[in-house]
Amino acid sequence: MLNKENDAKFTVEDQEFLQAIATQAAIAIENAKLHGQIVKNERLAAIGQTVSGLAHCIKNILNGIQGGSYILDLGLKKENFANVGKGWEIVKKNNAFMKELVLDMLSYSKEREPEYNTVDPNELVKSVYELMLEKGKEKGVTLLFNPEEKLKEVQIDSKGVKRTVLNLVSNAIDACEGVDDAQVHISVESASVKIFRIHVKDTGVGMPPEIKAKLFQVFFSTKGSKGTGLGLAVSYKIIKEHGGHISVDSEKGKGTKFTIVLPKKRK
C-alpha cells in the first residue's frame, strides 16, 4: 500500500486498512497511558503508606522523649533525683530509638553493595549470642548456640549480617515472652560448597499465615508501639544484596524458624 507506483491512487480498501491500523495504534497508546497512571498511583499510594508509617513511628518516639523530659523536669522541680534519673534514662533510650530508626531508613532507602570482609561466621554469630544472653535471661528465655566447626571463613558484609542476626535473635526472644521453658536456638550450617546457612529457631508463640505473609513489609510490626516495622525489611534487603535470602517457617503456638542463606564467597 505504501509502495504505490505510477501515481496509483489510494483505494477505499486502503483507507479502511489505514483506519484499522490507526485505531489499533490509538488503543495501544491509550493503554500505555492508563498503565503509566496506574503504576504512578500505586507508587504514590506506597509512598503515602510509608510516610504514614514513618510518622507514626516518630510520634511514638517523640512521646517517649516528651514523657522523659516531663518526668525529669518534675524531678528537678521537687528535687527528687530518682525521678531526674528515671526521666533522663527514658530520654536517652528514645534518642537511641530515633538513631536506630534513621539508620534503618537510610539502609532501606539506598541501593548498596555489601562491604565484604573475610570472617569466621561462627565467631560472628557467637558474638550475637553472647550479646543477647542478658536479654534472654531477663525474659526467662534460654539461648543456645551451635557452631559449624567445618566452616572457618566466609566473605560477607559482617556488620550487615551481624545486624540481621541480632534483629532475628531479638525478635525470637520477644516471641517467647510469656512462654514457659522457652528456648532460642542459633546455629550455623555449611549447606554445600558454595552456601552456608544461619538458623534462628524459637519455641515462642509462632505466627499465623496472614502475619507471615506481611513479615518483611516496611512498617509492619507485631510489637505494638515498640517496633519500628523496619527491622525485618532492612534485614531482608541486606541479605538480598549478598545474593542470599531469608526464609521463615512458623506455626501459631509452636514457634518460628528463620533461615538466612548466604553464599560463602562474594558475588
Binding site: 504514614s52 510518622a55 507514626h56 510520634k59 511514638n60 517523640l62 512521646n63 517517649g64 522523649i65 516528651q66 514523657g67 522523659g68 516531663y70 518526668i71 518534675l74 525521678n83 528515671k86 527514658i90 533510650k93 528514645n94 507485631t222 510489637k223 505494638g224 508501639s225 515498640k226
Partner: protein, 131 residues
C-alpha cells in the same frame, strides 16, 4: 471526697510512667496499670476505675478491641475511656477503628494524640472527672 481511681492500659512502660507523672501533678489518684489488653480487662473488673487511659497500638489485642470488650460488660461499660493514639495527624485526620476494620459502637470519651501534651491531658482528665 473519695480518691479517684485511674487504670492505665499500655504496653509501653515509658508511657505508663509519663501518664502517672502527669496525673500526680493534677490530683491525688489511686493509679494501677496493665501492659496488655487481657490484663487490662481483668484489672478493670477488679479495680473498678473511675477512668481508663488506653493505648491504641498494643500487640495481640489493640486498644479498640479492648474498648469494645469493655463496652460489652455491664459492670464496666459506664467507665469513661481516653484513647492514646500515635496514628492521628495535626490536620485532625485519624487512622481510627474503622481503618483497623473494627466497629466500635460507642465512642471513647476522648482521643489524645501522641506526643501527649500535658496541658491537653490535664484539661481532658479534669473535664471527664469533673475535678
Amino acid at each position: 471526697m473519695a480518691i479517684k481511681k485511674i487504670l492505665i492500659i499500655d504496653d509501653e512502660m515509658d508511657t505508663v510512667a509519663f501518664v502517672e507523672a502527669m496525673l500526680s501533678e493534677l490530683d491525688d489518684f489511686e493509679v494501677e496499670y496493665a501492659n496488655n489488653g487481657l490484663e487490662g480487662l481483668q484489672k478493670a473488673g477488679e479495680f473498678q476505675p473511675d477512668l481508663i487511659v488506653l493505648d491504641v497500638q498494643m500487640p495481640a489485642m489493640n486498644g479498640f478491641q479492648v474498648f469494645k470488650e469493655l463496652k460489652k460488660k455491664p459492670e464496666l461499660d459506664y467507665i469513661p475511656v481516653i484513647m492514646l493514639t500515635g496514628f492521628a495527624t495535626t490536620t485532625g485526620l485519624r487512622y481510627d477503628a474503622k481503618d483497623m476494620g473494627i466497629t466500635l459502637g460507642a465512642e471513647p470519651s476522648a482521643y489524645i494524640d501522641k506526643p501527649v501534651e500535658p496541658e491537653e491531658f490535664h484539661k481532658t482528665v479534669k473535664a471527664i472527672l469533673e475535678i
